[in-house]
Amino acid sequence: MTGSTVPGVVPASRLRLRLEAREQPGLPTHLAVSLLLLLAALLLAGTVMTVAGGNPLDVYRSMFGAAFGSRWGLNDTLIKMVPLALASLGVALAFRMKMWNIGAEGQLLMGALAASGIALFAVPPDMPRLPALALMAAAGAAGGAAWAVVPGWLRAQFGVNEIISTLMLNYVALSIVQFFVYGPWGERGFGLTPMFERHTWLPRLTDFADQWSALRGLTLHLGILAVPVAIACLAILLERTKFGFEIAMVGDNPDAARYAGVRLRRTMIIVMALSGALAGLAGMSEVSGVVHRLLEHISPGYGYTAIIVAWLGRFNPLAVAVVAFLFGGLIVGADEIQSAGISSLLQGVILFVMVSGNLLIRYRIRLRPPEAMR
């Protein structure tokens, strides 16, 4: 350093930003930083809205009101949350092991396709509701799992990059769904199948309006029960089982896992299967709980949003579900203000800010004069 200034006085131009590692960031740090980053993201998106001539405060207020302000809003938010949460939990599971499964969209579609096939052709008209739904759920999970096992196996056996293969299979899945809804299963070329029989529908809250009149009109279906079950199963799997410990090992250091006797290929394939099964269940719950038929646009990109949600939830099952709930609200709120761009703008900005702000969790920023930097 060529110091040529008065001793003790550091010119502002020589102050340097310095990153200092935090040893082990705790939960309060995580929460505080996340909240800060969320505010920053809203601010950033608000700036864009202001430039575009809108009033961000009004926008945020009406979005919030629409999503969380009434039981109708909450109903819609929860409906959006179900597929998001299930798919995100699947993605988070794979990401835990550093298997970058970004094919939740395709897995969801294949799950929806399989469940629809069962509903349309395999369930006899006199079958009671419970076994019919169980059959559809099993088919949905199997469809999603099958679609994920293919890239999982390719990765395990031949080292094929799963990012590329899972992404590409999304488009294949979409084409297959299109083939069925316009072709053999379609109804007059509209890109949708006939309506399912009622006993293959997931019960909705409004179906119980006879007993509890307050539920009348609420369309939330019982697929939502799958969310807490999935959270609990995943949390137990990851934290309490030997298989979960193997996932943690492989995720942290595959070489050490191999050295410790973990069967890497097997672990990879099973994790991908479970990951895909969760996305497949999301697809099943959409066809059986919401639209009651298969159609081309069964998913408005839940599988892709799931990647963002999983990431923001830091692959922690409970946190992922919370983020999924908030993102469900974001989708509903954006629908309310009738500007399709807002939702993806906000999603994008939030992810961008959160991911780039990630380092604030591991480091704190210090302002230091150059002399002190040594």
Binding site: E23, Q24, E239, R240, T241, K242, F243, G244, F245, A248, M249, D252, N253, D255, A256, A257, R258, Y259, A260, G261, V262, R263
Partner: protein, 536 residues
Amino acid sequence: MPVEGTFRRHCSMPRTSESQSRTQTGPRAAAHSRNMVEMRGISKRFPGVLANDRVNLDVAAGSIHALLGENGAGKSTLMHILSGLYRPDSGTMKVEDRTVSFASPLDAIQAGVGMVHQHFMLVETQTVAENVVLGDHRLGFHMDPSAIRDTVAEQGRASGLEIDPDALIWQLSVGERQRVEIVKMLHRGARLLILDEPTAVLTPQEADTLFDRMRGMAEAGRTLLFISHKLNEVMALAETVTVMRQGRVVDTVPQSQVSRRELVSMMVGSPVLFDVAIPPVQQGRKLLSLRNLTVENDRGQTAVDNLSLDLHQREILGVAGVAGNGQRELAEAITGLRKLQGGAVVLDGFDVAGANQRRMIDLGISWVPQDRQHTGTAPNLSIQENFDLKRYRTARGGLFLDRSGQASRAAALLAKYGVAAASRHQPVRLLSGGNLQKVILARELSTELRVLVAESPTRGLDVGAIQTVHELLMEQRSRGVAILLLSEDLQEVLSLSDRVAVIHSGRIMGILPRVRADADTIGMLMAGVVPAGMPT
């Protein structure tokens, strides 16, 4: 490691006129009337290690000069300084009698110094010609592809390195890619060519071809300086050899006046034994028997060649050898991590060859791997979890993880092995090398082990930690464990072993009982020479 005894004469450093005059007595002494390079008092410190310590190096113009030393001796650092990748902390350099100071490899190449790295720096999807001229600042904005092709082809022909200028890099073999790298440097005007372990990636046939080309380039007046830790190629190719050890130059000698054995002694030094109490025990029965083991390395070359060894209960069998002679592959083969090409691994009478790592663990084969961070531990998992890396599977709980057992085991191990850590929940990446090694040893020694494979178990540790590790090994020996100690540290092998096996090119050159294992004999065997009168 203090250097004493027989080889003191090699350690006169900094060297003066005496050895300098010797470097000029090679077969083509007349041609070597001046030095291509003179490095004086070069030092380079990295955090925690003095990589080069007042190094002097003279390289005669037009000669083939080898820089020999074990891993970590400072060879690569020195060459990175000479090729402009690093700046020295102190010292001066002259190239062709001009004092130079390189800020970048570009400066170096302009002064005529070019380096071919171990990992090639080529663009796979471009042609040979494009790669050769890539980054050549002498080219203007306009490029004439056909002229470039011709220049590159001509350059290759002139130096005996024929390459097709239109071939795409990804289509080429490793040997051909290396040729492209060399032509690239020659095209830039390198008069001194530095090659970093040039044969490491080559087949023996490719290596022979490379040697011919290198001799040809030297005949044509270029100077070649290559890094190696293989004695064979140094003896076959170099006119002058500079040996480095622990950041210093041990000596520079003409190849014609030095034996392999002397070179090994210079590389490994003359060890002072550790003071380890060796409890007298009765050697037990044969526990592990390797029969005609053949194993390939990652590049598909034979690394362990038809090797046979017997290991007994209550015995430490030390394997001494220069790094890269098949030790790693041998350890991985025994522990089930590496596939065998042939042979048998007989454990207590049963052939377990081909069993995977999981099965080997269950059979009671513990392994302290050389690479503590990348193989031995999961850095972000806690100490507690790393203790349980292998044990969790057989612990109670069925499908569920035995968390409470894990916690109590961890607390016990932490205390018993004296791991200095804030808590058992601390991630192991925060531990020092010595404490990390204690975690690994605690894990590997706390099972029902029958065989222990220990790879360089004290590398990089301080004296106190080394003492602890040695005591732990002795304790296991007394308990009846059969220990295979693979170490580059001759001092350690000679201090601990009941018998010493010497490995060279994947073969066992000889096995000596402790009383007959002196550094001289071992050194000869490490160089691949069987001393006269030694029973085999």
